[in-house]
């Protein structure tokens, strides 16, 4: 890698570092020592800031590496990220304004806070909080994997066998991230998201215009890719292996997998603590709805980016050149095709693209721990300042945990857990979303349904073999009683719902205690300006 690319990279990295620390002074509040400020940025972000923040949250560096990598590797369902990010927005439009309203009026910071208030059940709330934390941890780890991939291609890998020296650049980037998240809270990723998304937009637009032009146009790229996959399939068949590669789901079985992956991922995504954190930080209900209409701009971009996987195939990048790691395909493509200075911009875009979601995720996990474990079970009287102090420390612990994960363990472990994370987080859907509309479900029935979904999903994911591994080999498994593979999370979710419905009937017949609902119907529709909903919580 050239000195030019390196200088550009370092300049942009320093720029966001300064922004990260300066963010503490942005939209300054009277006091930062409470979760509304540190953990939700004052709950006052308008449409513009929220668009960057939520976009920065959903479209992570790992997405930018992994989605094109699956197309590069010839997975016929790889493009599901596009329908997935189409379906998300109508869901956000419908459900999240209600969660926003009830959270504002009652001061809820996390989805588990809401569940506790709605069902009067600390047990159910704990289940939601723990699910959120364990699903988020591997997600953070994967952001680091994304950074590591870029640093690798940049050649920023000191020649040393010592694990610490080997990953020193990653370590440095990480310490800086941890420091400004600690001091600025959610304001840091909100401000850095401007730089991140601007860079990502520029890089992708240039990439999808400049590189295909060099390689003979899109038509040619699709042709070459089709031929390359056909050749690989022929080679596989000759060796007696199944021919699996292709550019799109041509047969019915893969179409079911495609649709269920899109739907299941969309339902799961806004259950993730970090997406809820991004949404709860917005100023009023119409900010959320307006953004549901504006955020698809990112989906368009993601689709173009996904196709860079085919561009890499057409550019002659071979799996063998990448040491069998498809994830290196996109950084390698940029290294090969871009002029040095622009490659520097591209690397910076991906690394900064990892910092933003990693910061939001660690804040979300810290909020969950502080509110729904520390305060709920150990310090019921904790004052807001104590909550903020604990959350800041936990955000450090969460990030160090993710770092150890990536450095000490096999990368596939993080990827497996991320796959499981999607399955797990969807199991919180019935308690949270049904709870926004009705108290019909019994709190313990929801807990039972959650447990059933978690166990089924984990066991089945474990039993799913992949190309190179016996376990956690994929997200798709045959629907019970059929030969049609669908996304494991969706099957687990249906089992979860079924158990919750049956158990509700049983528990009601047994007159099991219902728990106290501290919310009222009006809480779900209040907006800015109504009683108990202020624009600025702690105006200076």
């Amino acid at each position: 890698m050239s000195a030019v690319a390196f200088s550009v990279f370092i300049f942009l990295f320093l720029l966001v570092t300064v922004l990260g620390f300066a963010a503490a002074r942005w939209r300054k509040a009277e006091s930062m020592a409470n979760l509304d400020e540190w953990g939700l940025g004052g709950r006052g972000f308008g449409t513009f800031v929220s668009w960057f923040l939520i976009g920065g949250d959903i479209y992570t560096a790992y997405t930018f590496i992994a989605v094109p990598a699956t197309l590069f590797a010839g997975s016929v369902t790889g493009f599901f990220a596009v329908p997935y990010t189409i379906i998300i927005y109508p869901l956000i439009f419908v459900f999240l304004p209600r969660l926003w309203s009830v959270s504002h009026r009652h001061g809820y910071v996390t989805p588990a806070d809401f569940v506790e208030g709605r069902y009067g059940s600390k047990g159910l709330s704990l289940a939601i909080a723990l699910t959120g934390i364990v699903a988020t941890m591997p997600y953070i780890a994967l952001q680091l994997v994304g950074m590591q991939v870029v640093l690798d291609v940049m050649g920023l890998k000191p020649n040393s066998d010592n694990w610490f020296m080997k990953d020193l650049p990653l370590f440095v980037a990480f310490v800086i991230l941890a420091a400004y998240t600690y001091s600025s809270g959610l304001r840091a990723p909100a401000l850095i998201a401007f730089v991140k998304d601007t860079l990502i937009y520029v890089v992708i637009i240039v990439a999808v215009i400049y590189i295909p032009h060099h390689l003979g146009g899109w038509g040619h790229i699709f042709e070459v890719t089709k031929q390359s996959f056909a050749d690989q399939n022929a080679a596989a068949t000759a060796q007696g292996l199944p021919a699996t590669k292709g550019t799109y789901p041509a047969v019915g079985v893969s179409q079911w997998a495609y649709a269920s992956l899109a739907l299941g991922s969309a339902l799961a995504l806004f259950m993730y603590p970090h997406s809820i954190t991004g949404v709860l930080a917005s100023r009023d209900r119409s900010v959320i709805r307006r953004n549901a209409a504006l955020l698809p701009a990112y989906s368009f971009l993601l689709g173009l980016l996904a196709l860079l996987g085919f561009v890499a195939v057409a550019a002659g990048i071979k799996m063998a050149d990448l040491g069998g790691n498809a994830q290196l395909a996109i950084p390698q493509l940029m290294e090969n095709e871009f002029p040095a200075w622009f490659a520097g911009v591209a690397y910076a875009a991906i690394v900064i693209g990892a910092l933003v979601p990693a910061a939001i995720m660690s804040i979300a996990a810290a909020n969950l721990f502080t509110r729904n474990i520390y305060k709920a079970f150990f310090r019921p009287d904790a004052a807001p300042a104590e909550e903020a102090k604990v959350a800041k420390l936990v955000s450090l612990v969460v990030k160090i945990g993710a770092l150890v994960f990536v450095l000490a363990m096999d990368k596939t472990f993080a990827i497996n857990l991320q796959l499981l994370g999607g399955v797990w987080i969807l199991q919180t859907f019935p308690a949270i979303v049904a709870g926004l509309y009705t108290r019909w479900f019994h709190r313990w029935a929801l807990l039972l349904g959650w447990a059933a979904g978690m166990i089924y999903g984990t066991v089945v994911a474990y039993q799913t073999p992949g190309a190179v591994s016996k376990h956690f080999g994929g997200s798709v498994h045959n629907f019970p009683g059929t030969q049609t593979g669908i996304y494991i999370a969706v099957t687990a979710f249906l089992i979860n719902l079924l158990v919750a419905v049956i158990a509700t009937f049983v528990l009601r017949a047994l007159h099991a205690a219902e728990g106290v609902d501290r919310t009222v119907a009006d809480d779900y529709v209040v907006d800015l300006g109504d009683t108990g909903v202020q624009a600025e919580l702690n105006p200076l």
């Binding site: 189409i86 439009f93 146009g217 649709a259 709805r289 209409a293 698809p296 689709g303 907006d527």
Partner: protein, 83 residues
């Protein structure tokens, strides 16, 4: 939801379904032809769906604002009546 806003909320719901359901109908668009600017149908159609969904959601947003305004007016009247 007041009686004055019901039809508006129904319209919002229909628009959102029009945005969210087509991407799930995979057999409809899992084909390679006709091509557009070298893109197989499968790919350019899904890009089109992104734009389509954005338009549907935008219209739904505009309608939801009016529906919300009517709901708030109705709630304010109700509260006034009780006093």
């Amino acid at each position: 939801m007041s009686s004055r806003s019901t039809s508006l909320w129904v319209a919002v719901g229909v628009l959102l379904l029009l945005a969210a359901v087509p991407p799930l109908l995979v057999p409809v668009y899992a084909r390679l032809t006709p091509e557009l600017w070298g893109f197989p149908f499968y790919f350019w159609f899904q890009f089109l769906l992104v734009i389509w969904a954005a338009i549907m959601t935008s219209i739904a947003f505009v309608i939801s604002k009016e529906a919300t305004r009517r709901d708030r007016a109705a709630r304010a009247e109700q509260k006034g009546g009780l006093l």
